[in-house]
Symmetry: C3
Subunit: 679 residues, 3 copies
Amino acid sequence: MKGPLEGKLYHGAALYPELWDADVLAEDIALMKQAGINVVRMGEFIWSRLEPEENRIDVRFLADIIQTLHENGIDTIMCTPTATPPIWLSHGHPERLFVNEKGETLGHGSRQHACTNNAYFRGRSAIIIERLAQELGGLPGLIGWQLDNEFKAHVAECMCAACLQLWHSWLEQRYGTIEQLNEAWGTHIWSEYYNRFDQIPQPGATPFLHHASLQTMYRLFSMEKLAEFAEEQIAVIRRHSALPITHNNSIAFHVDIERLFRQLDFGAYDTYASSANWPAYLINCDLWRNVKRGKPFWVMETSASYSGSLESYATPHPAGYVRVEAVAAYALGAGGFCYWPWRQQRAGSEQPHGSVVSAWGKKTIGYANVVQVEQARRELEEILLATSPMQAQLAMTYSDRAKAYLRTEPLRKLNHRGLVTDFYARLVALGIHRDLITEGSELGGYKLLLTPFVPFLSPDYLDRAIAFVREGGIWIVGPLTGGRTEHHTWHTDAALGKLEKLAGVETTFVYPIDGTDAIGQAFGLHAPLGMWSSVFEPLGGNDIAGASASDSDHRATAIGCVHSGLTPGAAFITERRIGQGKLVMLGSMPQGDDGDTLLRRMLLHYADEAGVTLRFEATEGTIVAPRQGDGYVIWVIINMDGAGGHVTLPQEGIDALSGAAVPAGPLTVGRYEYRVVRF
Amino acid sequence: MKGPLEGKLYHGAALYPELWDADVLAEDIALMKQAGINVVRMGEFIWSRLEPEENRIDVRFLADIIQTLHENGIDTIMCTPTATPPIWLSHGHPERLFVNEKGETLGHGSRQHACTNNAYFRGRSAIIIERLAQELGGLPGLIGWQLDNEFKAHVAECMCAACLQLWHSWLEQRYGTIEQLNEAWGTHIWSEYYNRFDQIPQPGATPFLHHASLQTMYRLFSMEKLAEFAEEQIAVIRRHSALPITHNNSIAFHVDIERLFRQLDFGAYDTYASSANWPAYLINCDLWRNVKRGKPFWVMETSASYSGSLESYATPHPAGYVRVEAVAAYALGAGGFCYWPWRQQRAGSEQPHGSVVSAWGKKTIGYANVVQVEQARRELEEILLATSPMQAQLAMTYSDRAKAYLRTEPLRKLNHRGLVTDFYARLVALGIHRDLITEGSELGGYKLLLTPFVPFLSPDYLDRAIAFVREGGIWIVGPLTGGRTEHHTWHTDAALGKLEKLAGVETTFVYPIDGTDAIGQAFGLHAPLGMWSSVFEPLGGNDIAGASASDSDHRATAIGCVHSGLTPGAAFITERRIGQGKLVMLGSMPQGDDGDTLLRRMLLHYADEAGVTLRFEATEGTIVAPRQGDGYVIWVIINMDGAGGHVTLPQEGIDALSGAAVPAGPLTVGRYEYRVVRF
Amino acid sequence: MKGPLEGKLYHGAALYPELWDADVLAEDIALMKQAGINVVRMGEFIWSRLEPEENRIDVRFLADIIQTLHENGIDTIMCTPTATPPIWLSHGHPERLFVNEKGETLGHGSRQHACTNNAYFRGRSAIIIERLAQELGGLPGLIGWQLDNEFKAHVAECMCAACLQLWHSWLEQRYGTIEQLNEAWGTHIWSEYYNRFDQIPQPGATPFLHHASLQTMYRLFSMEKLAEFAEEQIAVIRRHSALPITHNNSIAFHVDIERLFRQLDFGAYDTYASSANWPAYLINCDLWRNVKRGKPFWVMETSASYSGSLESYATPHPAGYVRVEAVAAYALGAGGFCYWPWRQQRAGSEQPHGSVVSAWGKKTIGYANVVQVEQARRELEEILLATSPMQAQLAMTYSDRAKAYLRTEPLRKLNHRGLVTDFYARLVALGIHRDLITEGSELGGYKLLLTPFVPFLSPDYLDRAIAFVREGGIWIVGPLTGGRTEHHTWHTDAALGKLEKLAGVETTFVYPIDGTDAIGQAFGLHAPLGMWSSVFEPLGGNDIAGASASDSDHRATAIGCVHSGLTPGAAFITERRIGQGKLVMLGSMPQGDDGDTLLRRMLLHYADEAGVTLRFEATEGTIVAPRQGDGYVIWVIINMDGAGGHVTLPQEGIDALSGAAVPAGPLTVGRYEYRVVRF
C-alpha cells in the first residue's frame, strides 16, 4: 500500500499568501493549474502574519487558502514558521538572538536571527506550531508538514549565554566527570585543564586555534540541540496531525542530517547548483533516497531558472536542463519536485531571485521550463509509480559528523562538501549505480562500501563494516579515514587504532605527502600522491593483533606502493581478505589526471571483484537510473550535461514511452533528452 | 555682473597655520607669491587650535593671518572645522561617536569620528562656527567659506543610538503610519512586520541580507540628515557673512550631492585620480559645472604630483599632466584650481602625501607642475573670463540616490562610480560635449538625455523627461534603469512600471542575461549582452496604456534584438516616437569590444538624430571644451592622455594665444599640450 | 673558561611530561638516548599541571623527571609556564585578557590570552616561577631556563584598560609634559591636541588612519612593557638560580629583540622556514650569534620534518636538509639544536605537527633526520668546540624598532621581515661572511656597515656610525633609512636631518619613484628604480653644514644617477669621504633582475674598497662558515639548497674529518653535504 505522499508525482512551488492579496492568489491558482502545479508549500516565514503581536494569533485565513487550493486540485505542505520570529520576540531582547563566533549578536531583519536554543523562543515556537497543527491539521488538501526553513543555512554554532549553559550540561552528560573530559581531551596541553564543567568556554575568539576536541564537540553539541528543537516541533504537530513531516535541508548546511531526520518522515532538500556542476545536483538524489529509505524524497526547492539575491545572481539554466533535473529526481526516487518561489518576491532581499511568475503576474523566463517538467512528469508518472528505484550495490558513506571533524581540522582548506562531491562524481562518471548512505545505515544488499573522508570511525560503524566484509563485501577505507578518536585526538595504540589491526597492516608513517615527489603505483598505473596520508606495511599473520583473527582471515597484501619521495616502497593501497570479503585501505589521494585515472581503475577493479553489476556503459554526462517493476526493469536514461551521448543497451528493450522496440547496442540521447527503456 | 568669486581665475592651495609657526608662514607666503598662488583654503581641521579646551575659544590669530595673506595678494577661503572635533568632545563620551555597520564605535585619532547627528556635537559645531563667522566674516581677503571637509569620505551610515531615534522619526515622517510602511516595504516577508516605528532596526549585522527597503531608506535618511547638518552650518554663517559657501565633495563619498548643495552657493570637489584614469578626473568638471549651474565650480583639492598616506601612495603625475588638469578644469567652468596641501604634513597620517613645498621648506617634485599651471592660468585668464562654457546638447543624469539603490543591490558587485565613469568616458571618446546633471536639473536646452543606472525613476523625473521628449528630445533609458519603486521593491503593474507604458513596450522578461549566450544585434552590429537585463516586445497602439496616449504618439519599434540565448527575437533596444521626440529603451548592456562599438554606434546614431552638433572630431585622449564669447566661440583643445593627437577644425579660426590664423582641417596638439582657437 | 652551556654541542627536543604517563616517559627516554638527544626543554605550557587550582601548587614531579633524565645523560632546560595561564586565572575575569586592535577580548582555549601587563597575571606568574626556581633551581641536570614561549607570536599590542593606564604613564615618563608631546607629535593636525595624558587613546578602530606618532609610540611602549615582564621573571629566577636564562624568539614576532635580551644570558630562536626558503633559516644564525655575542645561541625549536596545525601544514623537509640546518647552525655559532616536539601531540590544535616520535610511540618520518643530525653532531663536536665563529667584516643592522616604524608606515605593503631577508640573502649569495647586529651593537672590527630600512636613525647610532667611518669604515645608508624623527615625523631642517648634512648632499626630492620610468645608472650598470626614494645633489664644501666639517672631510660625489623619469640627473647613490672612511647614501631601490645585479655590484665594490676579505667563492646555495682555532682557521662548507655546488679553496687545506689533504681550487660538495677544511 502506498504511503500518504506516494500516490502521484508531485510538482510544486512555494507560495507566499502572506505577501499578496486575494486577487493575486486567485490569479496564481489559475496560472498554477495551467502550468501543472499540484502542490504548494507555504508558511515557513509567515509568523508575523499569524501573530503580529505577541499572543494575538489568527491562523484561520490559511484554512481558507488550503481549502481553495484543494478545490483547485492543489495540495498543500504547511511549514512551521520558526525560521523568522516576529519583531516582538527580538525587539529589546538581545539575549534571544544568535551570537556568532566573533561574539557579534545578529539582529532582526533577515532570517535565523533567533538562537534556536533560547527557551523563550522555543516556547513561543511551540505555541504557534500547536495552533497551526490544531486548526489546519485535519484539512482536506493538507498532505504534510515541513519544519522551519533550511535550518542552519546562514549560521553555524551559536555562542550565546544560553548555549553556554546547555553546552556545560551536554558535556557533563557526555563525559560524566570533569576528570574524564580532561583525560579524553588531554587538557593539560596549553594549560587548558578544567576544574568544573562551567569553566569550559565556547570556541570564540582566541589568539590562536582552539583545542580540537572542544571545537568538534561544540559542533556535535550544536547539531544535537538543533535536532532536539526539531523533535520538539514534531511532538507538537503529532498531537494534532498524523501527516508526514519533513524539513528542507542541504549538505551545505550545518546540521547532522542523519540525526535530524531520525524522527522525520521523509527526506527533502533544496538545491541551487549550476547546470555546469550537475553532479552537485545529482548527489542529493542518491543521498536523500537513502536518508529515509523506501520513502520518496522531495526536491523541496530549486530554481525554475536562476537564483539570486541583492548581492548576487546565478546564470539562468540552459533550456532543457530543468526538465532533466526533474526527470533525474523522479527516476532516482523523488516524489516531489518544487520551485522556489512561485511568484517573484516583490520586496525584501531576494527580489532578483528567479521564479515561475513575475511580481507583476507574467510568465518568467523559467516558466517554459516548468511546462517542460510538467510534460515529462505526466509522461513518466504511470511508469515511475509502477516501479521503484533499485538499491545500489555500491554504497558510499556520507557523514555530517565527519564534516564536523573536517571543519575543525581543514588542514589545507579541505572542504567536506567538495571532497565528497568530487569522489561521488567519479562514481557517476563510471556509470556505477550508487547509494550515499549515512553512517548508521544498514549495509545489507551492498557489495562494495566506500568510506572516504571520515576521520572518526565509530566502533559501531567499524563492527558493521567488518561484518559486511565477513559476509563477502569489499570495503574501501580512506583517504583521510579513521585517524581520529571520538574526541578528536590521535589514537595512541596505532595511527588508525583498531582499524589498522583489522586491516592487517602497520601504518608506518602518517604525514602530508604533498610536495614530497611521492608517486603512487597500482593497477599498472602511476600518479602523484597528495593530501594528508598514511602509508602501510602489510603485517605477517603473527603480527596481526587478536581483534580480527579468525581462520578465514589472511595476511594483508600491498596493492599500491609509493615510489620515490620520502617513503619509497611503502604501500598506500593494501587489501586483506577477511571472511568472505576484503578490507582495502586507501591511504593517500592520487592527484591530477593520472590520479583520477588510477582511482577510477581502482574503483572498477573492486566493483568487478565485488560483483557490482548495476553498472552502465554510458558516455560521461549521461546517466542511467535503474528501477524495478513487477517482473521487469526499466532504465531511465538522461543526458545531464547538455552534450548528448549514448548508452549501450545489453539486450533489446522496449521504449516505455512509445512502445517501440529498442535494439541492443548504443542508444543515443540528445542534449538534455531522456529515454525510458524497459527490459 | 560677476559674482564674488568670478573676477579672476583662482590658483590656490590648502594652508595649515595651526601646524607651523610664524616664520614658516612668512616663508610660505613668499613662496606662494613666487609660484602664483592667489588663494588659500584653511581651517577645516583647526578646531583644537581654536578651542583647545571646551569653551576656551580664540579665533583671532586667524584674522591676522587672513590680513597678512590679503596684504600679499592672497585671498582666503575659510572652513568650518567640524570634520575633527577636539579630544574634549569625544573623551569619555562614546555616545557622541560614529558607529559602523558592524556595531564598532570608532574613536578619536583620525577624522569624522563624531556622529554628525549627535545633538551635543551639533551644538558645539554651531558655537565654533558662529565665532568664526562673527570674527572673520567681514575681513578683507576673505572670499568664501567651505563647510567641514569631505563629508562622509571615510564613513557611510552611522548606527549609533541617536541615529536610531532619528531614523524612527524620519520614517514616521515619511510613511505617516506604520501600516503604510509595512505595506510599502512588504514587511510580512521573513516576518519583518513592525508594530511601531520604534521597533525598526538599523541595518546592522544579521545572519543574511537585510531587507532592501530598509537598507535603501537608511541610506537616504543618512544623506538627508547630513544635508541638514550642512544647512545648520550655513544658517549660522549666514547670520554674519554673505560670502559664498561651498563644500569639497566627491562622487566617491556617501552623500546626495544634489540635496547637499541645494543651499550651497557654488560647487567644489576633491580629486586624486591617476593620470591613466583621466576620464575619472574629467567627469567632475562636467558634473560640478552643473551642480550649481552658472557659477564657476572649484577644484578644491588635487595633488601637485601624487597622493599618499602611511599605507599607500600614488604614482606621481607625469610632467605636463597637472597643467592640463588645470586647463581642462578652467576651460570647462572652474573658477579655482587648488592643491592639497601647500606644505607637506610634518606629522600624522599623511606624511607621504605629495605637496608643493616640503616639510623642510624646499620645492617638491610637484613644484614645477604648479609653475606650469600658473603660466597657463595667466595665459588663459583673460580669454576665459571673457567667455563662458557652452551648455551641452547631451545630458546624462547623475544620481546619488541611484547610487544608494545600487549599494543596496549590487548584484554582481556593481559599482556605481565605475559604471557611470565608464559610460561617461564613452561620450568623451566620441567627442560629444556633455553635461552631467543631477536628477532634479532642468532639461531645457538639451537634445539628448541619457539615464543609465538609475533603478528608481521618480514621478517628477519621469514627467519632466517625457515633457522633454514631447518637445523634441531623445531620451535613452537604461541599462538598469526604472526597475524599482521608490521603496526599493519591484513594480507590480509591469516590470518597469509607468516607464514601460510610456515606452510602448511590454517587458517580456527581466533576467540576468550574463552567460546565456545572448547576442544583441542593432545598427548593423552585434555583441554579447550582459548584466541584469530587460527584454521587450513593442506593443501595438491598442495595447499601449492610457498614460501616454496622444495623437502624436506612435507604436514602439524594435531597434536591437536578441539572437540566440534564452529569449531570441526579443528586443533589447526599442524606440517610440512621443510628441516631437523619442523614448529609447536600452534594456541590456553590450559587452566587450564589440559591445563598446555597438554602444558608441547607438549613441552617435541618436546624437545625430537629435541634432547634437556640439561634437568634435578629435583623436581619443584629446578633448575640446567649447566656450561662448560675445559673438564668437572658442575651443580649448587639450591633450589629456599624454599621447598627443589632433582635432579637425571645421573652418579657419584664430589662435587665441598667438593671434595667428589657424586653417581648417586637422590641428595637432602635442603631449599634454593645449590650444585655444577662436571662431 | 667555558660558560655553563659551552662544554658540548646540545641536541635536544621539547618534552611534555604533563601530557603523558610515566610509562610513556620511560619509553621516550629510551628512544631519546637511541637518537642521541642530550637535552630536553619542558614546562612552557605546564602551569595547569603545576597549579590546577589557584594556590594549589605542586612542582615536585618535575624534580623527579629532571633527575631521571639526568641519570640517563639528558640535561634539562626548564621554562616558565606563563604563555598559558590556567582557566582559574581567566574564567570570569575578562579584564585580565588580551584585547586586540578591534577591541575584541580574546579568551581562554589557546595561548597568550592573558594581557602580560595585567597586574594580577604578573603576580601569579611571579609566584609560580618562584616555586619552580626554588624547587628545581639547584637540581643536577638542570642547565638553564627559558622564559615563557614565543612572546608575542600570536598577538601584537594589547588594547585593554590596564594597558591604557600604563600607556599614559609611559607617555608622561617619555615626554614629561603634555605640551612636549603635543609639539613632538604635531597634534594640532586633525585636531588631535591633548590637554592631559589621560586623554590619549590607544590605536584602536577609527574611520581612517591613526596618527603615525601615536601608532609607533604604542608599539614601542608595548615592546618595552614586554621586556619589563621578562625582567620581572628573570629577577624571580635569579633569587634562586644562577643558571643561564633565555627565551625562544623569532624575528616574526612583535618584540624588540635587542631590548628583550638585554638581561637574558644567551640567544635562542624558533624557526620553521621551508627548505626552499633556506636563507630565512640562515638569517637567524647570523643574527642570534650577535644578539648575545660570544655566547653560543640555540635553535630552540625547529621541525624534524614539517610543521602543522589543524588549519595548515608545511611540506616535509627533503632528506638531508635537516642535517645541514643543524650543521649550519652549529658552524655559525649554535650551542644547541632542538626539535619541537619530541612526541607528537595527541590532542589539541597541533596534532598535525611533525615530531620525532608519533603519538603511538613509533619513529616518524622525521626520525631519520634526527639520526643524521646526531651523526653530524658527533662528527663535528670536537672540531667546533676547539674553534669559534669568526666575526664578520661586514655588519648589517637589524632593528625591531625600525620594524615598528614600518608597521606604522608600510606604504605599499612593505614587510620588514621580507625586506631584510631579501637584502640579507644577497650577502649570502655573494659569499660574504656577515653579521646581523642590533642597533646598539658595537661596531669595532667591522669594515663595512649596511643600514637599510631603518626610518629613524638615533643620534647615538649616528654618532657611532660616523665614528666608525672616521676610523676607516664604509657605511652604506638606505634605502628607506633616516627619513623619520624619533617621533615618527618628518625632519624639518632637511629631508634626512643630520644624516643629510653628514652625507654632504642635499636631498633634492623625496618621492615614490615607482612607475615614473626612472632608471638608475651606476657602476656601469642600469636598472629601474622603485620604492619610496630620496635623490640627492652633492654639495660643495662651503655648502656642507658644520656638523661634520673637519680637515679630512671631502665633498660628496654622485656615484649613481637617475636617467629619464621626473628627476633626471639627480643622484641616487652618493659617497663622501669622512675621516678615513666613507659614507655612502643609497636613496632608491633598484628593481628586478637588473636591480639585483646593480645592488650586488655595489655591495662587492664597497666590500672590496673596505677590504672585506672574509668572502668565499662559492656557487649560490653553498655557504662557508669560517671559524677561528688556535693558530688555524676552519671552513665549514655546506650545501644548503640541495643542488650541490663547489667552493674555491685559496690554498691547500686539510679535510678536518678525514685528515686528508684538500688541494687548492674548486672543492665539490654534493646535495645537502658538508665538508670541513682546515687551513
